[in-house]
C-alpha cells in the first residue's frame, strides 16, 4: 500500500527533495526556522504552522529567517532568481501580499516580457490562504484570482497532498515566477504520496471524479467540498464530473470544455468573492466556447461579496458548503 502523509508533510518533502537535488534552491520567510537570535531552541517553529520544520539544520545557510519586511525579502528573492538562485519565499498568509505586491506584479511578473525575453525569474512565492480558521478578514482571503489576472505569473492551488508535492516540485523547477497557494484547512489532510520525487505539469487539470450529468469545476479546498457533494448526489442518481484545474494560470480550458460538451451543465465552485473571480472567468470562457453545448445557465457557488467574518456563525455561512453545491447542481440538472 502506498504511503500516506499530510498536505503539510507533502510540501515539506517537496522542498526537502528539491533542496537536496539543486543547491540553487534556498527558502526564506518569517520564522521559516524560528528562534533566530533567541536564547532557546533553533528551528523552533519551522514556519508559523511548522511546514518548513527540519530544513534549517539539514541545509545550513539555505533557510533564511527574515525580518518583518516582506517588500524587502520578497523583492530580494526575485533579484536572487535573476542571479542564479531558485528562491522559495514564504509569505505566511497570502493577505500580507498587500505590503509587497509591487515586487511581484510590477517586477517579477513583467521581467521576461518587458526585457524582451532576456530575463528568467525562477522564484516561488508560497503563501497560505482561505477561510475556516476563524482568523477573520485579514488572514482568511482567497486571492488566487488576483494573481491569475497578472500576465507573467503562474498560479498553483493544490487540493490534496499528492498534487501539493508534485506541483511544488514543478513550481521550483519552473523558470517563471510562481505563486503557490496552500489552503490552511488542508494542511492536515492525508493522502497517498509517493516517496520519490515527481513533478506535475502546469495547465493539466485532474478529473477528480467522472460523471455524465453535471460538470463541477472547483479550486483548492473547494475540490473536496465538491467531491463530498458529488458523493451525496450520486445517491440521488445525479452523476457529477468534478474537475480540479490545479493551476489557475495556466488554465486547462480543454478539459473543462470537453466535460461541458459531454454534460451540458456546469457548476463552478470558488471560495473567493464573486466579482472578477475564477468562477466568473470560467463562466465567461464556457459561455463563449461551449455555448452550443449548454443545456442550463451556468451556476457559480462562491463566497458572498463581503470580507471574511470572524464569528464561526458567519464564517461557516461564508464558505461554500457541500449543501450549497448540491443545491446548485440540482438546479442545473432540473433546468428545462
Amino acid at each position: 500500500m502506498a504511503r500516506k502523509i499530510t498536505y503539510q508533510q507533502a510540501i515539506n518533502e517537496a522542498l526537502d527533495q528539491e533542496m537536496a537535488r539543486d543547491p540553487r534552491v534556498i527558502i526564506m520567510g518569517e520564522d521559516n526556522a524560528g528562534g533566530a537570535g533567541a536564547p532557546g531552541e533553533e528551528d523552533a517553529w519551522g514556519g508559523v504552522l511548522g511546514v518548513t520544520k527540519g530544513l534549517f539544520h539539514k541545509y545550513p545557510g539555505r533557510v533564511l529567517d527574515t525580518p518583518i519586511s516582506e517588500s524587502g525579502y520578497v523583492g530580494a528573492a526575485v533579484g536572487a532568481a535573476c542571479n542564479g538562485l531558485r528562491p522559495v519565499a514564504e509569505l505566511m498568509f497570502v493577505d500580507f501580499i498587500g505590503v509587497c505586491f509591487d515586487q511581484i506584479y510590477n517586477q517579477a511578473a513583467k521581467f521576461r516580457y518587458m526585457f524582451g525575453g532576456k530575463a528568467e525569474t525562477p522564484v516561488v512565492i508560497r503563501a497560505m490562504y482561505g477561510a475556516g480558521f476563524r482568523a477573520a478578514a485579514q488572514h482568511s482571503q482567497c486571492l488566487y484570482n488576483m494573481f491569475t489576472h497578472i500576465p507573467g505569473l503562474k498560479v498553483v492551488v493544490p487540493s490534496n497532498p499528492y498534487d501539493a508535492k508534485g506541483l511544488l516540485i514543478q513550481s521550483i523547477r519552473d523558470n517563471d515566477p510562481v505563486i503557490f497557494l496552500e489552503h490552511k484547512v488542508l494542511y492536515t489532510m492525508e493522502g497517498e504520496v509517493p516517496e520519490e520525487s515527481y513533478a506535475i505539469p502546469f495547465g493539466e487539470a485532474n478529473v477528480a471524479r467522472e460523471g455524465d450529468d453535471v460538470t463541477i469545476v472547483a479550486f483548492g479546498r473547494m475540490v473536496n467540498q465538491a467531491l463530498t457533494a458529488a458523493a451525496a448526489l450520486q445517491n440521488q442518481g445525479i452523476h457529477c464530473e468534478v474537475i480540479d484545474p490545479r493551476t489557475t494560470s495556466p488554465l486547462d480550458e480543454d478539459t473543462i470544455l470537453e466535460s461541458v460538451e459531454k454534460t451540458g451543465r456546469l457548476v463552478i465552485v470558488d471560495e473567493s468573492t464573486p466579482r472578477c473571480s475564477m468562477a466568473s472567468d470560467i463562466a465567461g470562457i464556457v459561455a463563449q466556447k461551449a455555448f452550443g453545448a449548454l443545456k442550463a445557465p451556468i451556476e457559480q457557488v462562491t463566497a458572498p461579496h463581503v470580507p471574511v467574518p470572524f464569528s464561526d456563525a458567519l464564517e461557516d455561512l461564508y464558505v461554500p458548503s457541500p449543501a450549497r453545491i448540491e443545491a446548485a447542481v440540482t438546479r442545473v440538472k432540473e433546468y428545462r
Binding site: G40, P67, I68, V306, D312, A313
Partner: protein, 324 residues
C-alpha cells in the same frame, strides 16, 4: 510618589493595568478550554506601556494598535465587556462579532483598531494626525507597534512622513524582544529601535516598560511636544510578553525561566503597587478592593459573552458597500 499624578490618577492607572492583566489572564485560561476561536495574542506583562501612554490621551486623540491589541483597547477606554463578547464571536461584541480579537476597534473613543497586518497602523496614524493638524485641533495620534513591526516598510514610511509634515504623531515601539519566534537581537541590527529616530529627524527616547512612571513621563513629554506643534517622537518601550506569540505557542525559543523571573522581579503591577503604597497614602487594602472589582467585571464579561447570541445569518451581508 509622582509630581504629575494625583491620587485619583494613580488609582485610575492601577485599575486600568489590573483590568488588562485580569482580562488577558482570563482569556488565556478560557482559550485553553478550546472555546475561544481564532488567533489570540495576549498583552499581559506590557500593561505599563499602553496605560502610561493612554493616560495622557483624550477621546479625541487616536491610537492605532496591533494584533496584540487588547491592552491598548482597554487603556483607550474600549468597554471590556464588549471586547470579551467580540473575542467570543458574539453579536454583542465591539464589532458585532465580525472582527474578533485581532480587529477590535471603537472609533467613538479614538481607537482605530487592533490590526492583523504588522505595521498597518503607522500610515493611518499619520492620517489622523494630519487631519488634526489641518482642522486645527490639539489632538495627537499614537501608533503602537512591535520590534518586529519596526522593520516594516510602512513604519519607516510613516515615520518619515510624520517628520516631513511635522505631524502630531507619536510612534511607540513596544520592544518585547521577539517577533513571533525571532529575537529582536537578530532582526534589529542596531542597539535600540530608538537609535533610528535621528535618521528621521525626530527625537528617540528609550524607557523601561515595566516602570509605569517612566513610560508615563516620557510619553507625556512626547505628547506635549506633539500638541504644541513640535512634531513626532519615536518612543521605545522595553518590555516583555508573559505568554506566547499567540495562544498555543510552545515558546521553545525562549530561555527557561525567562518569564518567571520577570514576573517575580520586574512585573509592572508589582512595582507600581509597591511604589504607590510606600508612603501610606494609598493602602494595599484599597488596591485589593480594586482587584476584586476588576475580577468581578471580567468574570461578568465572560458570563455574558458565553450567554450572548451569535450574529444572525443576515449579518453576513451587512456593513459593506453592496453585498451579494
Amino acid at each position: 510618589m509622582s509630581e504629575t499624578l494625583n491620587r485619583e490618577s494613580l488609582l485610575k492607572a492601577y485599575r486600568i493595568m489590573r483590568t488588562i492583566r485580569e482580562f488577558e489572564e482570563r482569556v488565556h485560561t478560557d482559550f485553553a478550554t478550546g472555546e475561544i476561536p481564532g488567533f489570540v495574542h495576549l498583552y499581559a506583562g506590557e500593561e505599563a506601556s499602553a496605560t502610561g501612554v493612554c493616560m495622557h490621551l483624550t477621546g479625541d486623540d487616536y491610537i492605532a494598535s496591533t494584533h496584540r491589541g487588547h491592552g491598548h483597547c482597554i487603556a483607550k477606554g474600549v468597554d471590556p465587556v464588549g471586547m470579551m463578547a467580540e473575542i467570543w464571536g458574539k453579536a454583542t461584541g465591539t464589532c458585532k462579532g465580525k472582527g474578533g480579537s485581532m480587529h477590535i476597534a471603537d472609533l467613538s473613543v479614538g481607537m482605530l483598531g487592533a490590526n492583523g497586518i504588522v505595521g498597518g497602523g503607522g500610515p493611518l496614524i499619520c492620517g489622523t494626525a494630519l487631519a488634526a493638524k489641518i482642522r486645527g485641533t490639539q489632538d495627537v495620534g499614537v501608533c503602537f507597534f512591535g520590534d518586529g513591526a519596526s522593520n516594516q516598510g510602512t513604519i519607516f514610511e510613516a515615520m518619515n512622513l510624520a517628520a516631513v509634515w511635522k505631524l502630531p504623531a507619536i510612534f511607540v515601539a513596544e520592544n518585547n524582544g521577539y517577533a513571533e519566534a525571532t529575537s529582536s537581537k537578530y532582526s534589529v541590527p542596531c542597539e535600540n529601535i530608538a537609535d533610528r529616530a535621528p535618521a528621521f529627524g525626530m527625537p528617540g527616547v528609550i524607557v523601561d516598560g515595566f516602570d509605569f512612571f517612566a513610560v508615563h513621563k516620557a510619553a507625556g513629554e512626547a505628547i506635549r511636544r506633539a500638541r504644541e506643534g513640535g512634531g513626532p517622537t519615536l518612543l521605545e518601550v522595553k518590555l516583555s510578553r508573559y505568554y506566547g506569540h499567540f495562544e498555543g505557542d510552545q515558546q521553545t525559543y525562549r530561555a527557561p525561566g525567562e518569564v518567571q523571573k520577570l514576573r517575580e522581579t520586574k512585573d509592572c503591577l508589582l512595582q507600581f503597587r509597591r511604589r504607590i503604597t510606600a508612603d501610606g497614602e494609598i493602602t494595599n487594602e484599597q488596591l485589593d478592593a480594586i482587584d476584586r472589582e476588576v475580577k468581578t467585571l471580567i468574570d461578568d464579561s465572560v458570563v455574558r459573552a458565553k450567554a450572548d447570541p451569535k450574529p444572525a445569518p443576515a449579518d453576513l451581508l451587512t456593513d459593506v458597500y453592496v453585498s451579494y
